[in-house]
Amino acid sequence: MNRAVFLYVGVLLTVLLSFTGLVSIPEKQLGGLQPLVDADGTQYPVPPTGMVAEGRGVYIADGCIYCHSQQVRPEGFGDDIERGWGTRRTVARDHIYDSPPLLGTMRTGPDLANIAVRQPSENWHLLHLYNPRITSPGSNMPAFPFLFRKVPVEVQVPHDALSFPPGWEVPGYSVVPSRRAKALVAYLKSLDHSHPVPEVPQ
């Protein structure tokens, strides 16, 4: 093969083909997806704002995606639904406001697409972030003590201090979540894909 022009054209054509197939056409097909609006005017999904958006930033900065997915596989493919990770499979519409979408490729920890439904307690989330072994014995999730402040109890017990189960208290201190910890929990408590969608028949 001695013709450089043949190489040029072939090499560019092959990559343009896959770009068209795997990127351009999907963008045509899915790029115009709109949120659903219920009869009472509520919209699904909604763009993340305020503390939720801030918490999404913490989720990204601390790399939660490397151990947690946010996608429920279809019924009959894996056991995501049987595990209670969701009531229906995830669809493209669930992620129209996610840039980038945090679908994830690893489940060292469980899927979080519907963690808000599964675990509504704010104190549980905070304890779990402060030290995952408190709520989930045997977990290999990292602790995030740097998202909390320790305040000596003699000063005062702040109203938002964590309430520990017996045996886990930090003697002499109360533990207070930082704004970033609260934002991250607000984000986790917003992860709810249970809203019905026309793509998945009930």
């Binding site: 190489l7 072939g10 795997l22 790029g31 900065a61 979408p101």
Partner: protein
């Protein structure tokens, strides 16, 4: 090409020495940088691996949390070690095969220094909480402009050599190198613009992400790795590549199929079924180029396996080429929905990725540096013993790594697909395999330190002088490798 006779051996050796001399500064710069990032990435790899089974390890500082250390490991290995070793090798191969002096030497050296700054800056950005959580594109958007700019210089140098080539025949390695320098910049710029520049929306960003990330291996590392094997195998053996036509078939089928494979990372995800199916078809079709290349390399090697004992270059590239075959077949099977249902989201995928980037590409790059460096410095490698430690540390480390996490990943996947097993029990079952990875990582790290010492001594000219000019089998190949 005619077999060289004794009368034209001397001029051939002379132009080879001239080409090698022109490569010296840029290629050494890229190799030294690459080895630095290899060591740096190894430290992060060990940290991340230990944190997986001992989560309390160095967990007090946010910049050292697992979710930051892991992407820095990946990015320093991909953009630091792999790409820089790849660019050094690519430049030298293209100069040798085109029989021209390396152009743009100063811009390339400057580009190399800026590249180092880019990897360092991007890593600091991730560690300080500015990573993007887009896999394989974790450096913040701004850094991508720097890398894209340097890439223009590498692309220009490569294409200038190619168009000024003084050999009529275009050798198979040059097809692959030609592909690599055109494919990667396109992929990198498009992926950054669509994802970080948010030109695509929602899950289309995910499709773009995996189109890109899989092609970093498929259209960047793989062509450079195969070009290297296609060049060095006949060089070291002193015999031509088995079949020109198999080479041709292997190249074009790779170009056609590999870049469709990426969406197999999204099986079961919220994307149209056709898009996933296309990815699976692309993956399965990879059987053709992989079988072709495997047969071609094996038939070239046949009857010469005894040489593995004497040539470190050969040992590394043959191990690399064998890993390429295994990892590719594994990848094709893994893309099938029934297999993927178990292996997706588990450590099995991590083992697979390392067999590709490490077992194949990294091993080939080790082999390339063992071959190229003495020709740039005129010195021998200073210690056969360190080479041995390097080879066995990395080879055994890779084997333990792959076996442990492959097996552990299958068990993890089966348990996870069984709703009767509590999730924390799934986690507990993976522990021994996560420990085996740390053990494997220590073996690899020992190998890397031995290699770094060798490279340091090589480029500070500590080895014995080679007889001038650098000796190589003076047998010209039927395929025209020069």
């Amino acid at each position: 090409m005619n077999a060289a006779t004794s009368s034209d051996a001397a001029p051939a050796a002379a132009w080879r020495a001239e080409v090698d001399a022109s490569c010296a500064y840029p290629v050494v710069a890229f190799f030294v940088s690459a080895v630095f990032w290899l060591l740096f990435g190894t430290v992060l790899a060990l940290l991340a691996s230990i944190k997986m089974h001992t989560p309390g390890f160095l967990s007090g500082a946010e910049w050292l949390t697992f979710g930051r250390v892991r992407p820095v490991h990946l990015n320093t290995m991909i953009y630091g070690w792999g790409s820089m070793a790849g660019v050094g090798t690519l430049l030298w191969l293209q100069a040798r095969l085109s029989r021209v002096r390396l152009p743009l030497q100063l811009p390339l050296v400057v580009g190399c220094a800026l590249w180092d700054l880019g990897v360092a800056g991007g890593s600091i950005a991730i560690l300080t909480g500015h990573g993007t959580s887009v896999e394989w594109l974790e450096f913040p958007y701004g850094w991508s402009f720097l890398f894209a700019g340097i890439f223009v210089v590498v692309m220009a140098a490569s294409l200038m050599m190619f168009s000024a080539r003084r050999v009529g025949h275009v050798y198979v390695s040059q097809w692959y190198l030609f592909g690599a320098v055109l494919w990667f910049p396109f992929l990198y710029v498009m992926a950054n613009a669509l994802i970080h520049g948010a030109l695509a929306r929602g899950v289309v960003q995910a499709a773009t992400n995996w189109w890109f990330a899989h092609n970093v291996l498929g259209l960047w590392f793989t062509p450079i790795g195969l070009a290297t094997v296609y060049y060095l195998l006949p060089k070291v053996l002193g015999r031509p590549i088995h079949s020109y036509y198999l080479s041709l078939l292997g190249f074009w089928t790779l170009a056609l199929f590999y870049n469709w494979a990426g969406t197999h990372h999204l099986v079961g995800g919220p994307l149209p079924a056709w898009l996933i199916t296309v990815g699976i078809v692309g993956s399965v079709m990879m059987f053709i180029p992989v079988t072709t290349v495997a047969v071609n390399h094996h038939m070239t090697m046949k009857g010469h396996f005894a040489l593995l004992k004497v040539s470190p270059t050969l040992r590394f590239i043959v191990l690399g080429a064998m890993s390429y075959t295994v990892v590719s077949f594994q990848g094709s099977l893994q893309s099938l929905r029934t297999v993927n249902e178990v292996t997706h989201f588990t450590h099995y995928t991590i083992a697979h990725a390392h067999l590709g980037v490490y077992g194949f590409f990294t091993m080939v790059m080790f082999g390339a540096i063992y071959y190229i460096a003495p020709r740039l410095t005129g010195r021998e490698w200073s210690s056969p013993r360190l080479i041995k430690i390097h080879f066995w540390g990395t080879a055994l480390g890779m084997a333990v790594y792959w076996i442990g996490l492959t097996w552990g990943g299958i068990l993890q996947g089966l348990a996870m697909d069984n709703p009767d097993v509590a999730f924390l029990d799934v986690v507990r079952h993976t522990m021994p395999y996560l420990w085996s990875r740390t053990f494997a990582g220590v073996l690899m790290a020992v190998g890397h330190v031995a290699f770094a010492i060798l490279v340091w001594r090589m480029f500070t000219l500590k080895g014995r002088r080679l007889p001038e000019p650098a000796s190589a089998p003076v047998v010209a190949m039927a395929g025209g490798a020069q």
